[in-house]
Amino acid sequence: MTAPLTLFEKVWRSHEVVPEAADAPAVLYIDLHLIHEVTSPQAFTALRERGLRLRRPDLTFATMDHSTPTRTEQVFGGAPISVEAAARQVHELERNCEAFGVELLGLRDARRGIVHIIGPELGLTQPGKTVVCGDSHTSTHGALGALAFGIGTTEVGHVFATQCLLQRKPRTLAVNVHGRLSAGVGAKDLILAIIGRIGVGGGTGHVIEYRGETIAGFDMDARMTVCNMSIEAGARAGMIAPDETTYRYLAGRLRAPQGEAWDAALERWRQLPGDPGASFDRELDIDAAALEPMMTYGTNPGMVIPVGGTIPERAGDPVFAKSLAYMGFAPGERIQEHPVNVVFVGSCTNGRLSDLRAAASLLRGRKVANGVHMLVVPGSQQVKREAEAEGLDRIFIEAGAEWRESGCSMCLGMNGDLVPKGHYAVSTSNRNFEGRQGIGARTLLASPLTAAACAVRGRVTDPRELM
């Protein structure tokens, strides 16, 4: 009898072109290569310099999201993209995809969106696949039971040329989540709490598998939020075993298998969950029932407390002191009631339909507080259409928020959507690093529900106060 295997081990083994040896890493086959405008140009250049073809354009899929504008007039109205270098990058992706035969969802394509939103949305991401992209939040796709991880541009070139990567097998970490989340507490709060617990380097060298009844009870959007931020704990990939929720989500999607192929795929996918008794290198247990709405107070996602909590004291830690100085906070201070200047709802972490519904549920019939700039950016054009069909856009606009075209937007300051210097931004994105949302921007990461509550009150607010 063979030893019981985890979900990760099953996907890894089935993609070994050459297994790893003492003196050489494994050659791992890649089923889906997603690319975007920022981390691909130099890889295309490498192909040209070496006179290589792109081996499997049919397994390669391109979109543009990072440096693209979100203002409607710049996307559809012919107004120039405000960041000139970004416009060049977008055009270079168009030229490269044309030259190498890669399918590209261009700036005005109705299916365009953030790469980690559209992969699952189009049914490209499927259980048991290996998925890579030159972006660290590729971990998102693991929510469907794929092995998905971010790669650098040199590796993008490797996949272009060979459809393979050289990889050492990572260790495994099981995060077992039990109990029921209380009202007002969601997937974002859970993953922030996990990162707070293990730290921003705690998952380094590991693939995380999220398990337990709390995870099993999550819809796909929530699962993607959790897997998305695995990298913020240092883990290159996060995975969740596929189940009926996964199959229901995928059924009928544009690029999902259809008819007999669907039945065959389903049979394969049902073999993927870890075998009983399969062991992990490490395990961690989380009590979901004890969690509260969470918010970061510092300059990495591990610096996180409940919204009603107090900033810890770490005497003699100059890095901690520098981080708090950047944020304009002091040890022992509470963040609740702190004034907020900007609220951003969107990103590959929280730019899906259920995230927008959550934010809208608190904004319905309310107004964004005076002086607060709120930006709501759907994760894809499809999310945008679905939100508009439900009237969510009207709720945001009537509350005084801006409603934009899809893209990475304010998550990272490279597309014109910026948080001004010194301003406090409650953001549903994934990184609160210094300068991430703009030079001197002060980011407070939180859930869509919490972000909306903060927008209404103009102060850091526990969403349960408004529910």
Binding site: P41, A85, G150, G152, T154, T162, T204, G234, G413, G435
Partner: protein
């Protein structure tokens, strides 16, 4: 890629832990389509003041940092994004090795592909290095050791294949391209399944 066998240099120290890739190279510089010239923007928000002038209090702007090719950094260096612009910026600036107690996975993988050596040392040696900026150290690849000025050596783990590639200036793509027959066989097997 230039082969590396040994590196001998004074160190420059950035003691902060969890230095992320947004600090190494802020996102606004990622709109480039080439890999050259990023050294100018390395640690841009720490290195330059609001007026664009170099900040005298930042270590990389100080005279003793000139010519140093070994960066000693706090725990968990390079966390955050997958941007290879981070090692490109470091190597363009002249850094050839980063020494820490932990280096983030994607940064480490990217570094190796650009002849930037990730060196993980145990906390004792790391503390000594943090406390002695400017120390003249030698990093030897063949023996996987870092020699401190007093002659004491500490070993660091380096995956054998990565060491082979660095010491011989071999790039991984050549190795992968040589596996074409196995890749094609894998594809044939998968298609049949």
């Amino acid at each position: 890629m230039e082969p590396i066998r040994t590196l001998r240099s004074r160190t420059v120290v950035l003691a902060a832990s969890d230095i992320d890739t947004d600090q190494i190279i802020p996102a606004r510089f990622l709109t480039t389509t080439s890999r050259e010239g990023l050294g100018e923007h390395l640690f841009a928000d720490w290195r330059y003041g609001p007026d664009g002038a170099p900040r005298a209090d930042f270590v990389l702007n100080q005279p003793q940092a000139r010519g140093c090719s070994i960066l000693v950094a706090g725990h968990n260096f390079g966390c955050g994004s997958s941007r290879e612009h981070a090692p490109w910026a470091l190597t363009d600036f002249g850094v050839r090795a980063v020494v820490s107690t932990q280096i983030a996975d994607i940064f480490r993988s990217n570094a190796l592909k650009n002849g930037l050596l990730p060196v993980i040392v145990e906390p004792g040696a790391h503390r000594w290095l943090i406390e002695h900026p400017g120390a003249e150290v030698t990093i030897d690849l063949d023996s996987s050791t870092l020699r401190l000025p007093g002659g004491e050596t500490v070993r660091y783990p380096l995956e054998p294949f990565a060491r082979y590639c660095l010491m011989n200036g071999v790039d991984e793509l050549g190795f992968l391209l040589e596996r074409e027959a196995q890749i094609a066989a894998y594809e044939a097997r998968s298609a049949a399944a």
